[in-house]
Symmetry: C3
């Protein structure tokens, strides 16, 4: 038998055998998972409704926003509602279609009514970004380019659904933003107004984090848990820190633990590792490890080998 | 002459002159490089074959998986085989078409026969993720959303081709995942079962790294080399660490060097910088640098300047 | 009223009210912002002109590069020029269409004439990557796969427009690369030849950074500011470091401050935090914090809880 035919027959037989032996691979009882592609589309198109000057391609949008917005929301409502229904049915295999549909309608209605508030809060986040970043040329630049604003936008949408216990969808949303920006905000976090993340790559904000107003984070900041060795036993336990108002945390610092509180107006320097509470109105930095500066006998050349032992 | 015409004529002349002077810009002797777009498509579509409940859009997939899987694999085989052939011909400019085709068929056949094993191992990786992450709501969420699982999936495919010395394609695959997830796993690394990466942004796993079973890594972990100043002279030398079974390495830690071994059951705390071996069954943390906490005379105000010297 | 209708009417009314109350949401005086989608397309297609062997899908490209290049540049010129014009008109609401068009033509002409130089410099960046990375199998692999080369390519384009004070577009370009690679190079930075970034996720290079020739950076390196608490008052102040020729900065190190200078031939070890100048020809490392290694009475088990306090 030729190589290709042989390989495909073998692979198909074994893959389909695996489908049968493990229910995780296939739709369960004819019930599917929500569609990542549809959810991402909804997130993208809602952005065009919230910031019509930026992401709309239709020229009617600028001309008659009230018609356009209503028209777009109508379609987006149906698509999101269907996904919520699918997610509810999948997670609750006993639930009737009718009940799922009603629940999805209620949740989706609440979600859409909160969109204007999301819009207003994003404006505050953009303001915080402009005030806080000397490299920002304009607020428009922040809206159209800054990854932090995009990640916060997606988080603010996802959080509404997280609070309603919608399965799957909130995390699909925030992981989409994570992939685009390197900023990983768990939809369960609670985050106040005027929030700004600059640069952002590597930021992690854990599920039970609480953040006040006017907080600024830089790239590589982790607001995380002290330990996860207990795994699922820690589900629903407060394991991430609380950050009060007007705190700045500079790049690559970690603040860990569910009982760790950073008091208001406090500034955390870069590269610090904090596992205990810090009082309000303070400036914290790590005593930088002493630098070891060596002057080699000969100038370092391009071909030099240098490693940490010498 | 108008500005546009002038600029384009000049640019075209100089660009095409550059093409002639440097063979790197153009196909060599009529032989092309493999297509990044086709390789990425193959990676995406194989994911739908491995997890049919998640990424398939065709409803037949759920109904008759054996037909669908075989049908899809047939097409994917041809596309991957063609790319392997192209890659072999480009890298070995003396090789005959016939030889490249046979070698590509052999490699591609082996690759497809390993797919069921990849599927089974991914299930173990998902299990490790669920057991290890208190924020995970379900295994389905991990499969559909977690960047770590995606990066591991792509690495497991790429590694099969790396072992067969296929040029270009393994790295195109893992750099695609790197772009999507911020997780950079070199296809040469050797990684055991039940591997989990949480959050993941900034993780780097070097080419000669060896990782045992049941290992968990967090965001920002580097498993890297001590020095690269020798550049290509270090090619094929073991320069990245060995991590034994049941090790956890917390966020933003670096473990460096080809002779560095982390013994089994050991836990490496966050923000550590390790260049020597660590015995089994231990808990390692960096003695945190002393925190310097200053209470300014007046409360910190929003407009305050604060820098590291004061 | 049914849930959906009610929610959409309310949301539309409030969203459109917000559009009216805040000019930031909508086009201003009929003047739009540049299109992120078009700008990204131009960046992608210019890459195919610069590296025809890699990203061109048209087989004519390899056959008759001089025709193809000229043909492609003609179209790209018009598209980029239109975006520059849009950006100028939006940022200068008093500017006449005619003036914007002439200025855009001048800037676009200069941009296209610099493309061959960009091409030549990229070749040097690729050379530096190949010489510096023992995991690189070929220069072709670096061009087709390495995120560092992509980020540098986009930065080199964006910097030309930044120098001409084009609004919005330079940052849209570099943030596109940031999203794809995790490497955030501000278009204002000045970067010499033979520049290489390995792995790259988490790298941040601030707006007023100056980098010499033959410099190599690793993942997680920040070339940043000491403090940003003054926000916009710091605009146009030199606040990021200067890195001289032939410097290597290993992973996750930060070099901060506008007066901080790293002298030539110097090597900065991983995980260092530098806020003062370092002389030439030296090797710098942080005195690693002492490791605390604990041997628990019983072997660590999978279910063990371990946190930073114990």
């Amino acid at each position: 038998m030729d190589r290709k035919k042989d390989a495909i027959l073998k692979a198909t037989a074994a893959l389909t055998e695996n489908y049968k032996n493990e229910e995780l691979f296939m739709p369960k009882n004819g019930r599917s998972l929500p569609s990542r592609a549809v959810i991402i589309d909804v997130v993208k198109e809602l952005r065009a409704v919230i910031f019509p000057g930026y992401f709309w391609s239709d020229s009617a949008a600028g001309m008659f926003p009230e018609y356009y917005t209503g028209y777009r929301l109508n379609d987006l409502y149906d698509r999101l509602k269907e996904q919520i229904e699918i997610a509810l049915l999948y997670a609750n295999q006993e639930m009737e279609q009718q009940e799922a549909s009603e629940q999805a309608d209620r949740i989706c209605g609440g979600f859409f009514e909160k969109l204007p508030e999301v819009q207003e809060r994003l404006l505050k986040d953009v303001q915080a970004g402009f005030d806080g970043d000397p490299a920002a040329k304009s607020k428009e630049e922040i809206i159209s380019s800054y990854p932090g604003v995009f990640a916060i936008y997606v988080y603010r949408l996802a959080h509404i659904l997280y609070v309603e216990n919608v399965p799957h969808i909130p995390r699909i949303m925030t992981e989409y933003a994570h992939g685009k920006t390197g900023i990983d905000i768990n939809p369960g976090a609670v985050i106040g107004d005027y929030f700004f993340i600059d640069h952002g790559t590597g930021v992690v904000i854990g599920e039970t984090t609480e953040i006040g107003r006017n907080v600024k984070l830089y790239q590589g900041v982790t607001l995380g848990a002290l330990s996860t060795r207990q795994g699922q036993q820690l589900a629903n336990v407060k394991r991430h820190p609380t950050i009060h108002d007007n705190v700045t945390i500079y790049s690559n610092s970690s603040v860990l633990g569910g009982e760790t509180v950073i008091g208001e107006n406090t500034i955390i320097g870069g590269n610090t590792f904090i596992t205990e509470s810090i009082p309000a109105n303070t400036k914290v930095s790590a005593k930088s490890p002493e630098l070891v500066i060596k002057k080699p006998r000969n100038a370092v050349s391009k071909a030099d080998v240098w490693d940490w032992q010498d």
